[in-house]
C-alpha cells in the first residue's frame, strides 16, 4: 500500500480576477522510502499541491477538494483540526525554500526545535533539548549545543536552511515534503544538504516529494518524476525514462532549456517560447498548446487526459506517440 495516495486533487482560489484553478485534477501516490520529483515552471501548482497535503491552504480564498487524499489508512480530508495538527510536522513535515517562513525570528533555535518535540511527543524539556542538539548534529551543524541558544538571524543562510531541515526531520516523519529546499543556496551547500537528505532517507525510510526547478537535482535524487503544467500533470515517469525519452512536448522543452556542463555548449539553447498561461484565463483545449511545436487541430478542441503509456509512464499529450518516434530533439 502506498504511504500517500492522492486522487483527483483540485485546489482553486476565488480571487478578484476570477477563479484560479491552481491544481486541477492531480492524482499520484508515493511509496515508502521513495523520492518523487515534482517539476514545472513557477505558478504551475507545485507548492499548492504540497500545501494542500499539509492542510495549509488558506480558506478563503482557497477551496480544496479531492476524491481521495490518504496517508497510510487515514483520510487527510476527513481529519479534525486537532488530528491534522498531530500529523503535520510529525508524520508528514514540510521544508520550504525560505527558512524564515517557518522559523520564528523571536525564538532561539533551541526553543523552536524543542517545541516540536514537546507538542508531538510530550517528552521532558531536558530530553527535548538533548534530541534537538542531536538533530542539529545530524544535519552537519558544528557546535550544536551553542547553536541552540542562537536566534535565526545570527546564522548564515545555509545554516538556517539546515536548521529548518533538522526541524522537519526531528520527529522522523514518514513523508517529507521538500519545497525547493536548496534553491536559495550555493551549489556547494546544496550538495551538502542533498547528501544529508539521502542519508536520512536511507536510515529512516522517509518518503520524499522533492519540488525543484533544477533538473540536475531531480536527476540525482528522484526515483520518479511528476511534471506539472498549469495545475495539471503533463507527464509522469521513472527518472531515467523521463530524461531518456520525454513523452510530453513540455518535458522535452524543459530538458532542452537546461544548459549543460559538457557536450555542445556553443549551440543556442532550445528554449520554450512564450511564458506560462494565466491560470484564471486558460486557453481552450491543451493549456500548453500556445507554446507547443507539436500542436495539431485536435489540441484546441479537447483537453487531453493523462494517458497511461504502460511501464509506470503517462503523458497528457494527444501527440505522445509521434513524440516517442522523434528521438533526440531535446538533447
Amino acid at each position: 500500500m502506498p504511504i500517500l495516495d492522492v486522487q483527483n486533487l483540485r485546489v482553486r482560489f476565488e480571487t478578484h480576477h476570477g477563479v484560479v484553478r491552481a491544481v486541477d485534477g492531480v492524482s499520484f501516490s508515493l511509496e515508502e522510502g521513495e523520492t518523487l520529483g515534482l517539476v514545472g515552471e513557477s505558478g504551475s501548482g507545485k507548492s499548492v499541491t504540497n500545501l494542500a497535503l499539509m492542510g495549509l491552504i488558506p480558506s478563503p480564498p482557497g477551496v480544496v477538494e479531492a476524491d481521495a487524499m490518504r496517508f497510510e489508512d487515514r483520510d487527510l480530508l476527513g481529519l479534525s483540526d486537532a488530528e491534522l495538527r498531530s500529523v503535520r510536522g510529525n508524520e508528514i513535515s514540510m521544508i520550504f525554500q525560505d527558512p524564515m517562513t517557518s522559523l520564528n525570528p523571536l525564538l532561539t533555535v533551541g526553543r523552536q526545535l524543542t517545541e516540536v518535540l514537546e507538542v508531538h511527543e510530550r517528552v521532558s524539556r531536558r530530553e527535548a533539548r538533548r534530541r534537538a542538539a542531536a538533530g542539529l548534529g545530524d544535519v552537519g551543524i558544528p557546535e550544536p549545543e551553542r547553536r541552540l541558544d542562537q536566534y535565526p538571524h545570527e546564522l548564515s543562510g545555509g545554516m538556517r536552511q539546515r536548521v529548518m531541515i533538522a526541524m522537519g526531520l526531528l520527529c522522523r516523519p514518514r513523508v517529507l515534503l521538500a519545497d525547493e529546499p536548496t534553491t536559495a543556496l550555493d551549489v556547494t551547500i546544496q550538495a551538502q544538504i542533498l547528501e544529508l537528505m539521502q542519508k536520512l532517507q536511507h536510515e529512516y525510510g522517509t518518503a520524499i516529494i522533492l519540488v525543484t526547478h533544477d533538473l540536475g537535482v531531480v536527476a540525482g535524487m528522484s526515483d520518479r518524476v511528476n511534471v506539472m503544467y498549469a495545475g495539471r500533470l503533463a507527464e509522469t515517469a521513472g527518472a531515467i525514462e523521463l530524461f531518456d525519452d520525454p513523452r510530453h512536448p513540455y518535458t522535452r522543452g524543459l530538458l532542452g532549456s537546461v544548459p549543460r556542463l559538457s557536450g555542445d555548449t556553443d549551440a543556442d539553447l532550445d528554449s520554450i517560447m512564450g511564458s506560462p498561461p494565466d491560470l484564471a484565463d486558460l486557453p481552450a483545449g491543451c493549456a500548453f498548446r500556445p507554446r507547443c511545436t507539436f500542436e495539431t487541430e485536435r489540441c484546441a478542441a479537447e483537453t487531453p487526459p493523462l494517458f497511461d503509456l504502460g511501464g509506470g509512464r503517462s503523458s497528457a499529450c494527444l501527440e505522445r506517440d509521434a513524440l516517442g518516434q522523434h528521438q533526440g530533439g531535446a538533447q
Binding site: E41, S42, P142, S156, G157, G158, M159, D186, V187, T188, I189, Q190, A191, Q192, L194, E195, H213, D214, L215, G216, V217, V218, A219, G220, S222, A239, I240, F243, G253, L254, L255, G256, S257, V258, P259, R260, L261, S262, T265, D266, D268, L269, D270, S271, I272, M273, S275
Partner: protein, 326 residues
C-alpha cells in the same frame, strides 16, 4: 597592440563596518574585494563565479563606479577611470552598463517602459526628444518585446519580460560593455534559456563585451569565453572556458564544478562528488595563507604547512601551492 577594452589592476574594495556588541563605535575592515586583476577585450565575455559572499557583486559595483575603489585601477581603453570625478566619468558611464538579478527591484514600478527607456537618453542628452520614443520602440523590438507595449508598467510583464526591459535599458546608451550580475538566476529554466540566447544574439549584433556574474556554472560554460573564479575577495583561477571546465587547476574550482548536479540520472546517481565542508569564512577575518586552506581537501599534498602560512600568487592559471597547478 591596442589596450584592452577594460583592464582591472589589483582592485581592492574594503568596507568599514561597525562590529556588533562593542562600545565606542569600533570599526572593522571587511575585505570584500581584495586584489583582483583581469582584462576584458571588446566583444568578449568573461565569467565571474564563486559562492555567495565572495565579492562578485562588490567587484561589479566598483567597476561601474557605484563604489569608489579602496585602491587599484580600472582602465577603460587604456585610460584610468576609477579616480575621475563624477562629471569627468560621465562619458565612460555611458559605455559601461549594468543589469541586475532582480529585474523588478531595478525597475521603477511607477514609470512606464517608455520613460524607463528614454530616461537614460534624456540624462545623457542623446537623440532629440521626438526621436527618443522611436528609439525606445526599437530597443523593445531588439530585446524581443512588442514595441506597442511601450506604455505599460513593469508589473504588467512577466519576470522574463522584465529582465528584457532591464536589458533594453542597458542597451539604450549603446554601451561597449554590460556587466551582468546574476541576470538569469531568478528565472525559470525555460525563460532563462530565452534570455541567455538573447544575450548571445545582442552580443553579435552590437559587438558587446560582457562581464557575466552567475552561480550557475552550466550557464557560464554556455556563454563565456574565459572564466575567473573568485574566493573570499580574490581570483583563485582564471582561464579559457574549456581549459577551466575540462581541466580545472584550483581545488576550489574542482569542488565547485563537482557540486553542480548533471541533468542526467545515469551520470548523477552514484557520481563521486567533492563535498566541501562548511561555509565561506568571514571576509572580516579571512584565513591566513591561502584563504581556501581550511576547506581544501588537497592541501595535505603541499609540504611545510605552506598553505597556512604563505598566500599563493595567481600564476598563469591559478593561485595554488600544489605542484603544477599554478
Amino acid at each position: 597592440m591596442s589596450a584592452p577594452l577594460l583592464e582591472v589592476r589589483d582592485l581592492h574594495k574594503h568596507f568599514e563596518v561597525g562590529s556588533p556588541g562593542l562600545f565606542g563605535g569600533q570599526q572593522e575592515t571587511l575585505r570584500a574585494v581584495d586584489g583582483v586583476s583581469f582584462e576584458l577585450a571588446r566583444g568578449e565575455t568573461l565569467g565571474l563565479v564563486g559562492e555567495s559572499g565572495c565579492g562578485k557583486s562588490t567587484c561589479a559595483r566598483t567597476l561601474v563606479g557605484l563604489y569608489p575603489p579602496t585602491s587599484g585601477q580600472v582602465m577603460y581603453e587604456g585610460e584610468e577611470i576609477s579616480s575621475l570625478s563624477h562629471r569627468d566619468r560621465a562619458p565612460f558611464r555611458r559605455k559601461i552598463q549594468m543589469i541586475f538579478q532582480d529585474p523588478y527591484a531595478s525597475l521603477d514600478p511607477r514609470q512606464t517602459v517608455s520613460s524607463i527607456l528614454t530616461e537614460p537618453l534624456r540624462i545623457h542628452r542623446l537623440a532629440r526628444p521626438r526621436q527618443r520614443r522611436l528609439r525606445a520602440m526599437q530597443l523593445l523590438d531588439a530585446v524581443g518585446l512588442n514595441p506597442r507595449h511601450i506604455h505599460r508598467f513593469p508589473h504588467e510583464f512577466s519576470g522574463g519580460q522584465r529582465q528584457r526591459i532591464g536589458i533594453a535599458r542597458a542597451l539604450a546608451l549603446e554601451p561597449d560593455l554590460i556587466i551582468c550580475d546574476e541576470p538569469v538566476s531568478a528565472l525559470d529554466v525555460s525563460i532563462q534559456a530565452q534570455v541567455v540566447n538573447l544575450l548571445g544574439e545582442l552580443q553579435e549584433r552590437f559587438d558587446l563585451a560582457y562581464l557575466f556574474i552567475a552561480h550557475d556554472l552550466a550557464v557560464v560554460r554556455h556563454i563565456c569565453d574565459r572564466v575567473a573564479v573568485m574566493y573570499l575577495g580574490k581570483v583563485v583561477e582564471l582561464a579559457e572556458r574549456d581549459a577551466l571546465f575540462d581541466d580545472p587547476r584550483h581545488p576550489y574550482t574542482r569542488a565547485l564544478l563537482s557540486a553542480v548536479p548533471h541533468p542526467d540520472p545515469r551520470i548523477e546517481r552514484g557520481r563521486e562528488r567533492i563535498v566541501l565542508e562548511g561555509d565561506v569564512p568571514s571576509p572580516l577575518d579571512p584565513p591566513t595563507g591561502c584563504r581556501f586552506h581550511p576547506r581544501c581537501v588537497e592541501r595535505g599534498e603541499v609540504p611545510d604547512n605552506r598553505c597556512v602560512t604563505v598566500a599563493p600568487e595567481l600564476g598563469s592559471r591559478s593561485a595554488c601551492h600544489l605542484p603544477g597547478q599554478a
